[in-house]
């Protein structure tokens, strides 16, 4: 019953007219910046930080949280419409979402993403409210060895299921892993693969790599052949999913929500895996795995739900431990401190209005997002009719501004250009960018945790099998491998990441 009174308190705070207003501003801004290619929540929140000083702490945090999950929403729009993911999670959405758009089903893909996100967001918010403290205790059990095994599982899932172009997918993952190595070694301070450029000392900027290999490469490819794009806009039959499509999306959304909620709790990078894991699971369970990569509805519904659920549950470590799970969370902590609230384990008991108010606002915000986004779908789809010579320069300009604004680093722009070219060459070689991106994101985490686990165990490799959670994850990875290589299942195995570029 305590929960009910807490939620009542939270909704009381969040539904005041002011806070509803700030929640709306937040999700609106979030949607907008999410839709603008390359501009992310981090840059926006950093820019808005000074404005929030004048606001009540609760209002400002409600708004900032709104921007964060609003951007997650908006980010899938660009991924689907122009194959331009702004973060690792929407890279997965881009695979099938963009193919759907090319078939004239952009509206359906966008609606699926919106509905899946709404459902996942609502459920995950409820989880945060109900289980935040006990879930935190579980998350703290994850040490370096556990994270390493989790990353192994992530890599195995994606690579093992690839087929036909197994070799190419593997090569892409390895290339991604190598690119992830660029930067200063955490343990020795030695710069690696930076070519003496200090600006790459902290590694390649993810947004630069993603925008390059996906978005810029796609633009180059489109410029080669304008014919493709006309097909995209002429074939639009309807904007919303039909009954059959609704039926198809239910199970993936449920599974995606589950996967995302669990992984989002882990502060050491679990949320990154959410959408990749969901995609793999959907493909594995699907009766028509051959449709994946060619516009499968489940390939949008699952990952989008997983991504949004993860985004919500990643608030758990922030709210219960005071420790940020990602740069956006770090900014929110900065905002709290300037407001005179120092985040820590006591925030729940010392500032119940703040804690529960934010949780309640997340639910309200998700509702606002779905109401906002469904009518907007028609507008977004119209964007596809904007002629090339107008749309592409705008996209390029936006990308450049967005990438530059993160660290005011011109070398990030060179990286965009470089990876755009690389992406174009790869698409000519029929190598897919998604495994590359997965390798790029997981590589550093894999290495960092492997080496940390080995330091902690004084060089004893059995640490990975003697720690129960780690051992379980490794056994699961092995099981996935075996499952894939069993002959009778082998027939059903096919490409997870292959994007048909017909």
């Amino acid at each position: 019953m305590e929960l009910l009174s807490n939620l009542a308190l939270g909704f009381g705070v969040a539904s005041s007219l002011t806070n509803l207003g700030f929640c709306l501003i937040g999700v609106l801004l979030g949607t907008l910046i999410g839709v603008l290619p390359g501009i992310g929540a981090t840059a926006t929140i950093a820019m808005l930080l000074p404005i929030t000083f004048q606001l009540e702490p609760v209002s400002s945090l409600i708004m900032l949280a709104g921007i964060y999950y609003g951007a997650q929403y908006g980010g899938s729009t660009t991924a689907i419409l122009i194959n331009m993911p702004g973060e690792s999670s929407s890279a997965v959405t881009a695979i099938d979402g963009y193919q759907m758009a090319r078939q004239g089903r952009a509206g359906t893909a966008l609606a699926t993403a919106a509905l899946g996100s709404f459902f996942a967001g609502s459920v995950a918010t409820f989880l945060v409210a109900l289980f935040a403290p006990p879930l935190t205790a579980v998350a703290l059990k994850f040490g370096a060895a556990e994270y390493f095994s989790l990353m192994v599982m992530g890599l195995v899932m994606s690579v093992a299921l690839a087929h036909g172009s197994v070799l190419k997918a593997l090569a892409m993952v390895v290339l991604g892993l190598l690119l992830g190595m660029v930067g200063t070694d955490v343990y020795t301070g030695a710069p690696r693969f930076t070519m003496g450029i200090t600006q790459f000392a902290d590694g390649l900027n993810f947004v630069a790599v993603a925008v390059g290999v996906f978005g810029i490469a796609e633009i180059l490819r489109n410029l080669e052949n304008e014919h493709d794009r006309q097909v995209m806009t002429k074939n639009i039959s309807r904007l919303f999913p039909n009954r059959d499509e609704f039926r198809q999306m239910v199970a993936p959304i449920l599974r995606g929500t589950g996967i995302g909620s669990v992984l989002g709790i882990l502060p050491g990078g679990g949320a990154i895996l959410a959408s990749f894991a969901s995609y793999t699971v959907e493909k594995k369970l699907s009766k028509h795995p051959e449709e994946f990569g060619k516009g499968a509805l489940a390939g949008v519904a699952g990952p989008e739900s997983a991504n949004n659920a993860g985004a919500q549950t990643s608030f758990i470590p922030l709210l219960t431990l005071g420790i940020p799970a990602n740069p956006v969370m770090a900014l929110m902590i900065g905002a709290m401190i300037i407001q005179g609230i120092v985040p820590g384990p006591n925030v729940v008991s010392e500032q119940p209005e703040l804690f529960w108010g934010i949780i309640a606002s997340m639910w309200i915000g998700n509702l606002m997002l779905v109401v906002l986004n469904l009518p907007l779908i028609g507008l977004w789809v119209k964007l596809l009719t904007v002629p090339y010579y107008v749309l592409f320069p705008i996209i390029m300009a936006m990308c450049s501004i967005g990438v530059y604004s993160v660290n005011s680093n011109t070398y990030d722009l060179f990286a965009v250009a470089g990876f755009g070219l690389l992406g174009y060459v790869l698409s000519k070689l029929r190598c897919e960018p998604a495994p590359l991106l997965l390798g790029f994101v997981l590589g550093p985490l894999l290495e960092e945790n492997l080496r940390r686990a080995m330091i902690l165990s004084r060089g004893d490799p059995t640490t990975f099998v003697t720690r129960p959670i780690s051992a379980t994850l490794l056994v699961l990875s092995l099981a996935i491998l075996v499952l894939v290589f069993l002959p009778q299942i082998r027939k059903r195995r096919d490409e997870v990441f292959t994007e048909s570029d017909a």
């Binding site: 955490v186 301070g189 200090t198 050491g268 005071g322 900065g334 384990p345 006591n346």
Partner: protein, 324 residues
């Protein structure tokens, strides 16, 4: 004309026009470069004082986060910036340690900047996981010396406050511990909370809330006197570890050649900001305090930087750890 001659010419022009120019300063927006990511402890300090300084200067101070390479990228940008007072740098102790940690720094630390003043000096606390055996600092010292082989010491990466403090701790106790670096304070603290590592010495900005909540154990502070915040915590010096005395001091700099009047004006503004009750309160919440007015001056910061470079050089060289 060569580039350096042009620069020299520009410099001369700036200096010649300085008096008239300094009177009206500031007449437009000022950029404060923070060489770390937005939302971190240094960023928070910068935003706190920048807001109050803006009010006094009558011009907006905009924070620009130029993170990367332990703060040396942002500092390097400011070193190359126009010395007109519209680009300033807020940096912490890393300004002094990077001189030794980075052997190919793009600028000469002592020659590339002018000084505005010290902002705050954040104390450090020696902490350990919640179920760490010793109950007080003397017991901690004894326990660590006896069990050095099996203990781990976390830090937030090379050059971080926790790394510097860890080096001092190991030197003071004369035992090597297994050092476990992390990418930032967040993951390091998470592992300390989870009991994955044993010991960490970090700024009060990062540790105070956890100590108060009892999720980690605190043993000693690194200040000359005990802190009002934790009156029960002894100083490390009380147990005979005099070398364990330091804080993460923050200072504001301008590029070399910035007119003295401008630095003076900024320094006055900084002093006003530091005297502000709201700033004092916000800093107290973080476990630190504004620097006194006499330290918020160009002279005090210059002296601090010089003495700190000299102090850390042997410590870092003895540890043999470099960031490049």
């Amino acid at each position: 004309m060569t580039l350096s001659k042009m620069t020299a010419g520009l410099l001369a022009a700036t200096i010649l026009t300085a008096p008239a120019f300094a009177q009206d300063y500031p007449e437009r927006q000022i950029t404060m470069v923070v060489p770390f990511a937005a939302g971190g402890p240094t960023d928070t300090v910068a935003r706190l004082v920048a807001e109050r300084m803006s009010a006094d200067l009558g011009q907006q101070i905009v924070i620009e986060n130029v993170g990367g390479a332990g703060g040396t990228l942002g500092a390097g940008n400011v070193a190359k910036a126009e010395p007109d007072g519209y680009t300033v740098l807020l940096h912490h102790i890393g300004m002094a340690t990077s001189e030794t940690l980075y052997r190919n720094l793009a600028y000469e630390t002592l020659d590339a900047f002018e000084y505005v003043g010290l902002v705050t000096e954040v104390p450090m606390v020696v902490t350990a996981r919640q179920d760490f055996e010793p109950d007080d600092f003397p017991a901690f010292v004894e326990y660590v010396k006896a069990n050095a082989d099996s203990l781990t010491l976390a830090n937030a990466g090379i050059g971080a406050a926790s790394h510097l403090c860890g080096m001092l701790l190991m030197q003071a106790l004369e035992v090597p511990l297994v050092t476990v670096p992390y990418k930032g304070t967040g993951p390091a603290m998470t592992d300390l909370l989870g009991g994955q590592v044993d010991i960490m010495c970090d700024q009060t900005t990062n540790t105070t809330q956890q100590i108060k909540a009892g999720t980690i154990k605190a043993y000693a502070v690194t200040t000359p006197e005990r802190l009002d915040l934790f009156p029960d915590l002894p100083t490390a010096a009380e147990s005979g570890l005099e070398a364990m005395q330091f804080g993460i001091w923050h200072g504001i700099y301008t590029p070399k050649g910035t007119p003295a009047e401008v630095n003076q004006r900024l320094s006055e503004s900084l002093q006003k900001a530091l005297a502000d009750e709201g700033v004092a309160k916000a800093m107290a919440d973080l476990g630190t305090a504004p620097s006194p007015a006499e330290d918020a001056t160009p002279e005090a910061l210059k002296a601090k930087l010089e003495s700190e470079i000299a102090r850390w050089k042997p410590v870092i060289e003895a540890a043999g750890v470099y960031a490049d």
